[in-house]
Symmetry: C2
Subunit: 223 residues, 2 copies
DNA sequence: GCAAAAGTGTTTTCAATACACCCATGG
DNA sequence: CCATGGGTGTATTGAAAACACTTTTGC
């Protein structure tokens, strides 16, 4: 190849939308910028990719080392390479979605002076820096398509969960309402989940049965 | 960010699997390497991405300028960043699928001394250089998932086509056989295509009716 | 008139939907 | 005992699947 160095050097950043279910709400983890530009605005977690690591390694670093989270299910979403996405540098963004159950999500590292994190409901996103709002939107759209074709949501519910909780997650992500009886019937006949024999405690009303996902069998359309 | 230049400079290449339908066969366009390493092996078309262009611009350059093809429907597929994918350099590959109808595919530029191109049946792929076989496999898998959830195949059939032709394309990509009557019923009741009133000519047997895709209405599951 | 490929209709089966009442717990 | 939320069954509708014969052309 004809080689004019510089011309082919690109800067890459990884960005991830990490979703969890917190008290029946689907939420995404964001960081707050403490410096200019966009001071006070929110951004997606991520990092600049070095040329001695894979994107996945960089992603794991952002998530495990910087955020303190473990066992995040990751999937590549989209690349954004428009030239104007950062006013200062030309940076290509590679976006991922990450899914984590709310128990594991509790192990998130404490905020430090230079970093503030918070979980936001996906219907209630704060002001975001750069083009991160657009990227997050694309990631939510990706998740939406994903959950109707596979059982990726099991990453949000690795331990026991109730069917009403699962239904609420689907309803929020797909932005629809569903019939409780039909939702149960579908999930139970699909054979993706199994009754643990236990019920949950606390809360109002009748205790709900607890279920857990079976190990993945194969991908198929759910809705 | 702490900045140690060099460390964050990455080389990116775009790679595309361009599919078409040729005489009822789903085929992919490959180039043959004329120099070492991997002389004589086949590779996916693509190019190194400069830092003053988007991936999409680079893709268009590879396809329109280098190959002479127009109106290729493109969609991002996957990024490959493992460190050992090229023995000499660390290059990150961004793969796309491209779909083109067989009439437009004819306008492919003539082979030159330094470049040889050929269309291969997707079930009959030659020896490929680097990790391109793996990338192509992933791209075919992507296409497979895609066609059951949308009518992207219309990019392969922009002009008139017959239902048996369409069915054969689905059968090859999904690697299944389907009932002719049920296939017709489904596609006609889906309302994605319309009868042009014409029939094709030549060939054995009864002439087939010609159909064309309506403009996209919305995405939905087909199978 | 025969080979080759295209077109068509009906029955059965299964999944999706719509819908209303009872059950277990906490206070 | 009542408010809250969870669990269950049936009837209807619509789509998917299975299946065999007729039609149009070229030779």
């Amino acid at each position: 190849m004809d080689f004019n160095p510089g011309k082919y050097y690109n800067i890459l950043e990884s960005l991830v939308s990490i979703f969890t279910i917190d008290q029946g709400q689907v939420k995404v983890l964001l960081l707050r910028k403490k410096s200019e530009p966009y001071r006070g605005y929110w951004i997606l977690p991520g990092g600049i990719v070095s040329n001695d690591e894979t994107i996945e390694m960089n992603m794991i670093d952002s998530i495990e080392v910087k955020l303190g989270l473990k066992d995040v299910y990751l999937e590549q979403c989209h690349i954004f390479s428009n030239l104007d996405r950062d006013p200062d540098d030309r940076i290509i963004a590679i976006s991922y979605i990450g899914l984590i159950d709310n128990v594991s999500a509790l192990f998130k590292r404490e905020d430090r002076d230079d970093i503030q994190t918070a979980w936001f409901k996906i219907g209630d996103i704060p002001k975001m820096a750069y083009d991160h709002a657009r990227i997050l939107k694309k990631n939510i759209e990706f998740l939406r398509k994903k959950i109707v074709n596979s059982n990726v949501l099991k990453s949000l519910f690795p331990s026991d969960f109730t069917l009403p909780e699962l239904q609420k997650a689907y309803e929020q992500i797909l932005n629809v309402t569903m019939d409780r009886r039909n939702f149960r019937k579908k999930f139970i006949t699909l054979g993706l989940i199994e009754d643990t024999g236990d019920t949950n405690v606390g809360g109002n009303g009748r205790p709900a049965k607890l279920y857990s996902f079976k190990e993945e069998i194969k991908e198929r359309n759910l809705f």
